[in-house]
């Protein structure tokens, strides 16, 4: 049955290849992005929840 279904869509074989390529590239970019990320920035991000919530919350935005 699946043969019937798939044959009725034009160029079905390219669909999975295209999705695979898109996401493979996406993950490559993601990995590159993560592994070349600025250490200071990553450290700031990971410490976000620990900045005290209340009165003494000191902004750690580097642009400030």
């Amino acid at each position: 049955m699946e043969k019937n279904v798939l044959q009725h869509i034009d160029h079905i074989a390219t669909w999975p290849v295209i999705s695979f390529i898109i996401f493979f590239l996406f993950f490559l970019c993601l990995l590159w992005w993560v592994f070349t990320a600025d250490k200071k920035f990553i450290k700031e991000m990971s410490e976000l929840p620990l900045q005290e919530d209340s009165k003494d919350s000191t902004p750690k935005n580097p642009s400030v």
């Binding site: 279904v5 993601l30 976000l48 620990l50 902004p59 642009s63």
Partner: protein
């Protein structure tokens, strides 16, 4: 830059947490009631409103959407404000969200026991409530995104990513799965039929677990675990990879709920492959959580909050390894439709969701009331009661599932089924069902202890409705101090981020659904498969109302053990008029796909009146109300009309004469009953139910007979 003073809204968090505890108690009590009914059926008090088929969806909805849902909202409203250093976008929207959600829960609590259900698992609520859910969900989304847009912290912490993905994906899932055509205010038919309905439903069902029970909880883990352990997450880089790979892969795995069914093979294989791939991001996330505690394990011994979190993450890691294993076809062949699956979901619900919610409550309540926890000892007792509860729940269910499955499949030396009577396999596992109820009671006892502890804590402190905080506003011009633009592009652009998450989750859904929707013209048609007669249609709707699908499947898988027991395996072409599909996911009783013609009308009559009298030891409840209530003939035309609109080929104007056919078929059934000495009015609901049950599998049998020369 000058600091701005503002206030965090704790009042809304408090409201959601009160609702969490109240609905947790209710949901678990209903669950315990259902569990007891599975070995002591009379525990439904012979009332239709409390019968198993109706309270099982009440239990699942109460736990998922009321207990877990309120807990998610409470945690999001608490952490989002603090991570973004701003109050929620709009107090009004917050309260519309809160009361809207509680009204939906109330509507569910009323309609499900009344039997208003679509029968689609975790999406049982009827169409007006579906619309209300959509509206309230959008309110939540606007409030969350509005808050993000007026943040004082430039970058979105990873927890917020998980919250955003939750919002986007649940919206898509809910809308796509809820397409239905209304017949009355509380009755609708699923837009999709048979195989397509099954695929959409389990794409929804699977991802409801993913994006309601998992992603918001991972967000909570990434916020509350560093808080409770007082150290940053083990690897923030890993959390980024965790997020993207999890949301992308999760969405593809839905078809693993339909292995060996009539769903096309390619879709089944896709489900299996992506389920196996899912182990990587899931374990990546779990390890990231556990490794956060490196160097702080001594504190786990002291702090009940950390204890709960550690067991929660451990339960999560076990459940997310078990899930992919269950998606392997050879494992699925033994475990599907059995109590094993019940154990699997409860490991997730009791361990991962329940324990993480407890940790969050124990951590947050003393802080919001500016005090310390009333009794640490009591929290520790709760921890042990809960842990034992999970063990006593899950272990018996694993044994029960495996035992029953092996009994179903056992052949003797002559090639016959050893346990030909399904009931033998049910009776064998009843002691394990009793143990499960004990496990559930332990867990519930712990929950009650927590409730007392938290109330005492609140009374000892003073509630801070508006918590003062200070932070600098965001600079208009953003100047990066180091690195390039690309390091910050996602954390800095919430809308772009939301759109990207949407794209990631849409691709999997589209690739699975487009070909399956195109099947419509390609399903090998079975010429003998005809639409249901009006009487059978009414019977089917009563079958749906009573939640029969909660215990009986209509899907004979292509195994010899099943074809021997039930008859020919199920084909996709058989379900083309099934709005909704009723394949089911659990066999507490036997499969019914081929039950038509197997027993006499009077057998069904007596069996539904007193199952135990016909099959000694049966745990099926009796359905006395079917013998008193009458078929609503006024709805026939509307039902035929609605179904024709979505493609069921009833002749034009058939609705005008449908009731005549109905009465004719009913008269045939009552006269056959009369021949067996049973007098029943021909408009009693039981007549419609018998008509439906006798129809099941008949088309295929007719096809076979036609083939005979």
């Amino acid at each position: 830059m000058e600091l701005q003073k503002f206030y965090y809204d704790n009042k809304i968090v408090k409201a959601f947490y009160i609702a969490t505890v109240v609905f947790g108690l209710v949901g678990m009590l209903v669950g315990l009631t259902a569990a007891i009914q599975l070995f002591y059926p009379i525990f439904n008090f012979n009332l239709q409103y409390t019968t198993f088929g109706r309270i099982r969806p009440l239990h699942t909805n109460a736990i998922i959407f009321a207990f877990v849902g309120n807990a998610i909202f409470g945690a999001v409203y608490y952490s989002l404000q603090r991570l973004l250093k701003t109050r929620m976008f709009s107090d009004l929207l917050s309260w519309v969200h809160f009361w809207g959600w509680q009204l939906i829960i109330l509507a569910a609590a009323i309609t499900l026991p009344l039997g208003f259900t679509t029968s689609k698992e975790y999406a049982e609520l009827e169409w007006p409530i579906d619309i209300a859910i959509t509206i309230v969900w959008v309110v939540f989304g606007i409030n969350m995104i509005g808050t993000i847009l007026r943040r004082r912290e430039r970058h979105m912490y990873v927890a917020i990513w998980f919250y955003l993905a939750t919002f986007v994906t649940v919206a898509v899932l809910h809308i796509v799965n809820s397409f239905e055509i209304p017949v009355t205010f509380f009755k609708s038919y699923s837009w999709y039929a048979g195989v397509q309905d099954a695929l959409v439903q389990w794409w929804y069902g699977h991802n409801a677990v993913a994006f309601f029970l998992t992603t918001p909880f991972l967000g909570m883990m990434y916020y509350y675990l560093p808080k409770a352990a007082n150290r940053p997450v083990y690897s923030y880089k890993l959390s980024i990879i965790h997020f993207w790979s999890l949301i992308f892969i999760y969405i593809w795995a839905g078809p693993h709920h339909l292995l060996y069914t009539s769903l096309p093979d390619w879709a089944q294989s896709l489900g299996t492959v992506f389920s196996i791939m899912l182990i990587a991001p899931s374990w990546g996330g779990a390890l990231n959580g556990l490794m956060t505690l490196r160097g702080a394990w001594d504190r786990v011994r002291e702090d009940p909050v950390l204890k709960f979190i550690v067991v929660a993450i451990t339960a999560y890691s076990m459940a997310v390894l078990e899930g992919p294993l269950l998606s392997l076809k050879n494992v699925n062949a033994i475990t599907h439709f059995t109590d094993w699956i019940v154990a699997h979901v409860h490991l997730g619900a009791l361990g991962w969701n329940g324990f993480l919610v407890f940790a969050v409550l124990y951590w947050t309540i003393p802080r919001m009331w500016n005090t310390t926890l009333y009794s640490k000892k009591m929290a520790n007792a709760h921890f042990w009661l809960g842990t034992l509860g999970i063990i006593f729940y899950a272990l018996p269910m694993y044994v029960s599932g495996l035992t029953q499955s092996l009994m179903w499949k056992e052949f003797n030396a002559d090639g016959f089924l050893v346990y030909k009577n399904f009931l033998e396999t049910t009776v064998a596992i009843l002691p394990l069902h009793m143990l499960r109820a004990i496990g559930g009671s332990l867990y519930l006892t712990g929950f009650i202890l927590m409730t007392y502890n938290l109330i005492k804590t609140a009374y000892a402190g003073k509630f801070i409705a508006n918590e003062e905080a200070q932070a600098a506003p965001l600079a208009k011009e953003y100047v990066a101090t180091s690195g390039g633009w690309h390091y910050r592009v996602l954390e800095n652009k919430p809308i772009l981020f939301t759109v990207l998450s949407l794209v990631a989750i849409l691709i999997g859904g589209i690739v699975e659904m487009v070909p399956t929707f195109l099947i419509k013209s390609n399903v090998p048609t079975i010429s003998s498969v005809k639409p249901y007669s009006p009487l059978e249609l009414h019977g089917r709707d009563i079958y749906i109302r009573e939640g029969c699908v909660g215990c009986h499947t209509q899907m004979v898988r292509p195994f010899r053990s099943e074809t021997e027991r039930y008859g020919e395996y199920s084909k996709a072409g058989e379900f083309v008029y099934d709005h909704p599909f009723l394949w089911g996911s659990k066999r507490t009783g036997p499969d019914l796909a081929r039950v038509g013609g197997k027993y006499s009308n009077s057998w069904h009559y007596n069996h539904l009146l007193a199952p135990d009298a016909v099959s000694t030891g049966s745990i099926m409840p009796s359905y006395p109300w079917l013998f008193e209530q009458t078929i609503n003939l006024g709805l026939t035309a509307g039902k035929i009309n609605a179904l024709r609109k979505i493609g069921v080929p009833y002749a034009e104007d058939y609705e005008a004469t449908a009731n005549e056919d109905l009465k004719k078929q009913a008269a045939e059934i009552t006269s056959s009953l009369k021949a067996d000495g049973i007098e029943t009015p021909s408009d009693a609901e039981i007549v419609a139910v018998i008509a439906y049950l006798q129809r099941l599998g008949k088309d295929i049998k007719a096809e076979k007979e036609n083939e005979q020369p």
